[in-house]
């Protein structure tokens, strides 16, 4: 939510640019839901749902000292759906695991999102012809951000979190996918 562009009541009061800018940066006037989304966007707690190779890249290496997800505040990796906001589906979803993917998604508390990491989670990936693989997390849970790659680099997963944050803040994500 790019608040600095919206009109702000302080503009009628004074036309000193510095004061207006200072006011706009510190005081946000928006409906409550937008403000909450502003807070939620910056402090997502991922549910580490490590299934396969993407779990090593998308959950472990993202947290390690080089790619450090903690710089963005998303490093609190919860394993229980009760305390998680984002379900990071990292790896191949097999038919034996599918009911638990859905069950865990259902058990997450409400404002929840899903990031599908890796081509297996997007569309079955190299195992799409297999008899025991669900071709994509989309078939089970509504997915918000797809991260292509087999496995995607950790910085791609960090970009996924950035895009999810833009989506939560209500910025137009599709056109801004640079």
């Amino acid at each position: 939510m790019d608040l600095t562009k919206d009109s702000h009541p302080v503009e009628q009061m004074t036309n000193d640019a510095k004061v207006v800018d200072q006011f706009k940066r510190t005081i946000y006037l928006a409906p409550l839901e937008k403000l909450l989304n502003l807070a939620r966007g910056y402090s997502l707690w991922p549910l580490g749902f490590g299934l396969a190779c993407c779990a090593i890249e998308g959950l472990m290496c993202v947290q390690d000292p080089r790619f450090d997800l903690a710089r963005f505040g998303y490093e609190v990796l919860r394993t229980s759906p009760r305390q998680a906001d984002v379900m990071v589906v990292a790896g191949t979803i097999t038919k034996k695991m599918a009911p638990y993917v859905v069950r865990l998604y259902e058990q997450m508390s409400e404002p929840k999102w899903v990031i599908a990491v890796g081509s297996c989670a997007i569309s079955g990936g190299p195992f799409v012809d297999s008899y025991s693989v669900v071709p994509g997390a989309e078939k089970l849970v509504p997915v918000d951000v797809f991260v292509p790659g087999c496995p995607p680099r950790p910085d791609a997963v960090i970009q996924a979190f950035m895009m999810l944050r833009d989506k939560i803040h209500g910025k137009v994500v599709l056109s801004s996918a640079r």
Binding site: K95, K96, D129, Y131, S132, V134, G136
Partner: protein, 150 residues
């Protein structure tokens, strides 16, 4: 004490067990009936001392199943491949090696799960990799399934 040479071992086994035939790469093919006795002999006889069962798998040939065992003797460093041909493709069955090696337990369950070969004498023969209500045995050549690439 260095064990006998592999060729000597093969000759001795050939005399002890009639139904054995050995091909040029020294893989022993034994009928299912005396598989257990051959394996016991290979394991417990101090000269052979094949005390390690590395791999146990199966192959679905057009006219028969073959269960393939690989043994290693840690002391002498020998390796031996033993095969069992199962002609009956409807209810394939083979004697289980769990009395001899605990390691065979899970590998036999995997072969049962993916091929449908029942191992008589196995303490807990259930599916291990697939769901219990999965229909069919995937690694058989006549297994049809429709993949996700719709």
């Amino acid at each position: 004490m260095p064990g006998k040479e592999m060729t000597v071992i093969i000759e001795e086994i050939r005399e002890k067990f009639a139904g054995i035939d050995v091909d040029e790469k020294m893989t022993v093919t034994v009928p299912a009936a005396d598989l257990l006795s051959l394996m016991r002999e290979l394991k417990e006889n101090p000269e052979y001392d094949f005390n390690f069962l590395t791999s146990l798998t199966a192959v679905d040939y057009p006219e028969h199943f073959t269960v393939v065992y690989n043994l290693i003797s840690f002391r002498h460093g020998h390796t031996l491949m033993v095969k069992v041909k199962i002609e009956d493709k409807e209810e394939p069955a083979a004697p289980s090696l769990t009395p001899l090696w605990g390691g065979a337990n899970w590998q036999e369950r995997e072969v049962y799960d993916l091929f449908g070969i029942t191992f008589t004498g196995h303490p807990n023969l259930r599916r291990i990799l697939l769901d219990d209500d999965f229909a069919g045995y995937p690694l058989r050549k006549d297994f049809e399934w429709e993949g996700g690439r719709v």
